[in-house]
């Protein structure tokens, strides 16, 4: 177990849904951290009471990974991410110390309210290939095995899982506040898999080798026995009548995925210049199915990270994503039937390899030699692009390395929790602020239009895709 500070105890604190409740609980338990609030810009925090205790604020899914690899001794994260970690890596060094009295929703198996699968029994009996979409692919795969699904495929996604059924998936395994939350998204809950409580987790090596009793004692009165989740009673009867929007959406021949998040604003501008009217896309709406002015085009708003896989599997004909995510996908699946049709010019980033300014290495070749001489043992690599990172390291004959997946703000992991960063940067400013230096630009990326190769072979689709491509190409050229 390397990289645990030689003296201090390191605690990983969650961002997001558990942040304020965990902060209150830590205060009440007498384990306060300065600046642990949603306003903080700090990643690293100090304990107000224990000198040896420090903390970092991380995404919950990063916490299960980094406590397992031993970068943190203790952490707080939702049961869903603990389950996912354990489902993927049963031997992960992650100990569930106990459940904290903080509860945020549950993880459900659901289908579209308009699906012909109206109950769990029908799902089990189904003979067709069921597509499961989930942010928890490990949990979803185990569930498919438990339910003895006859044929299934699991599609991991970064987010917006609820937007996939019924057209792009049969089933979704997702987190939701409650059943009403699912119903309001046009979904039908089939089974509540488990409630999501915040868990106190520990690295098993730390727990057996280090004295953390003072800190653990603060939690002793606050741990609960986890509750079991039961099946959700499902209302009988068939599917709901088809909604007008859904019918109209499904009847359109060409399906286009548009990005949410950072890429949305420049995408909206490009569509405007192209004269492609997509009502409801601009602004802050939560509707993910949109009907553009062109009557053969259906639009769904999903994460750009998920688009190459979704286009490859034929759930969409076209998507506006980044070349970085396309490349990441092709590194994993070289024979994937996804092609880039057009460089859209916006969203320019570089995917770079960077490491701490303190490391006496300034090129990839030097890094390779440094690792060969035992400079890092092994080289710990943090990346949002695990496949690009893996290929970069392999192609450059870097000796021993491990790639740890991260979900954003990867620069915060260096130098304590990782040695090398493979991540995107626009200006390089954040890297400099974190005292990191770029040793290689692996890829220059901008937004692009991608297509499914099968769709391009279908003459009727091809003509429409060409038309759309021409509209967008015109708009790109306009900006020069």
């Amino acid at each position: 177990m390397q990289a645990i500070g030689p003296d201090g105890i390191r605690f990983a604190l969650p961002k997001g849904r558990f942040l304020s409740s965990a902060s209150e609980l830590l205060d009440a338990a007498g384990v306060s951290f300065e600046d642990y609030s949603s306003k903080t810009r700090q990643y690293r925090l100090l304990s107000s009471r224990f000198e040896s205790l420090s903390a970092k604020i991380l995404q919950e899914k990063d916490i299960s990974v980094h406590v397992s690899v031993g970068n943190y001794d203790l952490g707080i994260c939702g049961r869903d991410w603990v389950r996912e970690m354990k489902a993927r890596y049963p031997a992960a060094a992650l100990v569930e110390v106990g459940s904290l009295p903080l509860r945020e929703g549950a993880v459900y198996l659901a289908t579209s309210a308009y699906s012909d699968l109206t109950c769990l029994e029908e799902v089990k009996r189904s003979n067709r290939t069921l597509h499961l979409v989930s942010e928890y692919p490990g949990v979803a795969t185990l569930l498919a095995a438990e339910l003895r699904l006859k044929r299934f495929r699991v599609f991991p996604v970064w987010g917006a899982a609820g937007a996939y059924p019924p057209e792009s998936a049969d089933l979704v395994v997702m987190w939701a506040g409650d059943e009403r939350d699912l119903v309001s998204q046009g979904l039908r809950p089939l089974k509540k898999l488990f409630e999501v409580d915040a868990m106190l987790v520990a690295n098993s090596g730390s727990l057996s080798a280090r004295d953390m009793s003072e800190v653990l004692a603060c939690f002793s009165g606050r741990l609960e026995v986890a509750r079991n989740a039961g099946d959700v009673p499902v209302a009988d009867g068939g599917g709901l009548p088809q909604s007008g929007l859904l019918t109209a959406w499904q009847s359109r021949e060409i399906r286009l995925a548009l990005p949410d998040g950072h890429q949305k604003t420049p995408a909206v501008e490009l569509l405007e210049r192209a004269g492609l009217d997509v009502p409801g896309y601009a602004g802050k709406t939560s509707e993910r199915r949109l009907l553009p002015g062109i009557d053969w085009l259906a639009v769904k708003v999903i994460r750009p990270q998920d688009m190459p896989l979704q286009v490859a599997s034929g759930h969409f004909d076209l998507a506006v994503t980044g070349q970085d995510w396309l490349h990441e996908h092709l590194c994993a699946f070289p024979s994937s039937p996804v092609v880039e049709l057009l460089d859209l010019g916006f969203g320019k980033v570089r995917v770079v390899a960077a490491l701490s300014e303190d490391v006496p290495v300034s090129t990839t070749e030097e890094l390779s030699r440094f690792v060969a001489r035992g400079g890092f043992r092994p080289l710990r690599v943090a990346s949002e692009y695990t496949n690009i990172a893996d290929r970069y390291l392999r192609d450059n004959h870097i000796g021993a390395y491990k790639v740890m997946p991260t979900w954003g703000a990867s620069e915060a992991f260096l130098p304590d929790d990782a040695d090398l960063l493979v991540d995107n940067t626009q200006t390089g400013k954040t890297l400099v602020e974190n005292r990191l230096k770029i040793i290689e630009v692996i890829l220059r990326s901008s937004a692009c239009l991608i297509a499914n190769a099968e769709s391009l072979r279908a003459p009727s689709k091809k003509a429409k895709i060409d038309e759309l491509r021409a509209m967008l190409a015109g708009a790109v050229n306009e900006t020069g």
Partner: protein, 421 residues
């Protein structure tokens, strides 16, 4: 840091994986040869399924328990953008059943055998994660006669290996399932009992059986079935007049098989707990146990597997020997030919050619020859014979028998004859 310790290997083997060294491979081949020879003698044909299969082959049919599924090596293939996961096969019976349904069905009966590895994750990394097995499947074999055949085949392999200490424990998965069905429990409780027995936990079943009503007094004796004869089974049968038809049918079949084995003087023990991971087993089951109590093989009847896979409604049974465990029971003796070293102290091109020719003559006569130019210390002890070639033109060789230390100079033909005789 520990700079004083041994220099670390730059690249060691993966955790949970095993290098098979020459001594291991001698043992491995002895098991394999005995198995292959026995299978051929019984008319079995060899097949080899691929290493990688689709994950759903193992998840969909109830062929592996979810606990097992949680331990498979599964991943997305290079073309896994379709979302279909593949797996390094965790078991071989299921792939062979698939192979049959896809290629050979509805031909029946079909007797198949294979030597394969399978991959199961194990946390500590101290046990092998890659396991080898020698398996035989009798597809289309009707109950009783086929059950007896595979037990005889397995015991034939054991006999060929000269392993007198390996015991056969026989039980009946169908009887165990019927027994659980006979209990007055809810469907959910029964399912739970099956699951815990699958995991090797019998306490729940014992408690449930201990509490049965008087009219089901035939149930408790079944759980103490251990090391008994077929006569004991007859007694249980006499008491179980009130039992359901499934129970009676399973018990009759069990009695029939055990009586036949008795008559064929095949030694075995009845042990109801000898059934593990019987998820796909439906009838007679058996396991092979070494004197140290180690399970070295097992098998049984699995009538539902072929139809579940979409194949014809054909019964089947089979068994596998766990090669890694069997190897521990054997010594590393090299039962093969005495080996010869053909050596020459002269490294001129002509002398080397001469040496290679002599070695070729030894091999052509069916001997085993290794060549060494400049006789060195590696040619002591490991070879029964040492043939020394003096020079390019030498018509004679100096032949040394390392066992007797006798040394003669003779013609090449004489030397070859002597060492292959």
């Amino acid at each position: 840091m520990d700079t004083q310790s041994e220099p670390q290997l730059l690249h060691g083997k993966c955790r949970g994986m095993r290098d098979m060294l020459p001594g291991d491979m001698l043992r491995f081949r002895r098991v394999e040869d005995a198995f292959v020879d026995a299978c051929r003698a019984y008319g079995y044909e060899e097949v080899k399924p691929p290493t990688i299969e689709y994950l759903q082959l193992f998840t969909a049919l109830g062929t592996l328990t979810p606990a097992m599924v949680g331990r498979v090596y599964s991943f997305l293939d290079w073309d896994g953008w379709s979302g279909e996961r593949v797996v390094l096969r965790p078991d071989s019976t299921i792939p062979v059943a698939r192979l049959y349904v896809e290629n050979l069905a509805p031909r029946s009966p079909v007797r198949l055998f294979y030597v394969t590895n399978s991959f199961v994750f194990e946390e500590t990394g101290r046990k092998n994660r890659e396991r080898w097995q020698c398996g035989a499947e009798f597809i289309g074999g009707a109950p009783v006669v086929a059950d007896v055949e595979i037990v005889l085949l397995a015991s034939d392999v054991i006999a060929r290996l000269g392993l007198e200490d390996v015991r056969f424990q026989v039980c009946h998965a169908g009887l165990l399932k019927a027994l659980i069905d006979e209990l007055d429990l809810s469907a959910q409780d029964k399912e739970h009992l099956v699951e815990s027995v699958l995991e090797g936990d019998w306490r729940g079943l014992e408690a449930a059986v201990a509490g049965v009503a008087d009219r089901k007094r035939y149930l408790p004796p079944l759980l103490s079935l251990k090391g008994v004869s077929s006569g004991y089974l007859q007694n249980v049968r006499a008491l179980s007049a009130g039992a359901g038809p499934e129970f009676r049918r399973a018990l009759d079949q069990f009695i029939e098989v055990s009586s036949l084995l008795d008559e064929l003087e095949c030694s075995y023990e009845i042990d109801i707990t000898a059934v593990r991971s019987f998820e796909y087993y439906t009838g007679i089951c058996f396991q092979l146990v070494s004197s140290a109590g180690e399970k070295v093989g097992g098998g049984g009847r699995y009538d539902d597997l072929i139809p579940l896979m979409g194949g014809p409604n054909i019964p089947a049974c089979g068994f596998a020997l766990y090669v890694d465990q069997m190897m521990l029971l054997l010594d590393g003796r090299d039962g093969g030919t005495a080996r010869a070293a053909v050596v020459c102290d002269d490294s001129s091109a002509g002398a080397v050619r001469r040496t290679l020719e002599v070695a070729r003559a030894v091999r052509a006569a069916g001997g085993v020859a290794s060549v060494g130019i400049k006789r060195g210390p590696e040619f002591t002890g490991r070879f029964r014979w040492v043939l020394r070639v003096a020079s390019e033109t030498a018509e004679t060789v100096e032949l040394t028998d390392s066992e007797t230390r006798e040394q003669v100079t003779c013609s090449i033909a004489e030397a070859v004859e002597r060492l292959v005789s």
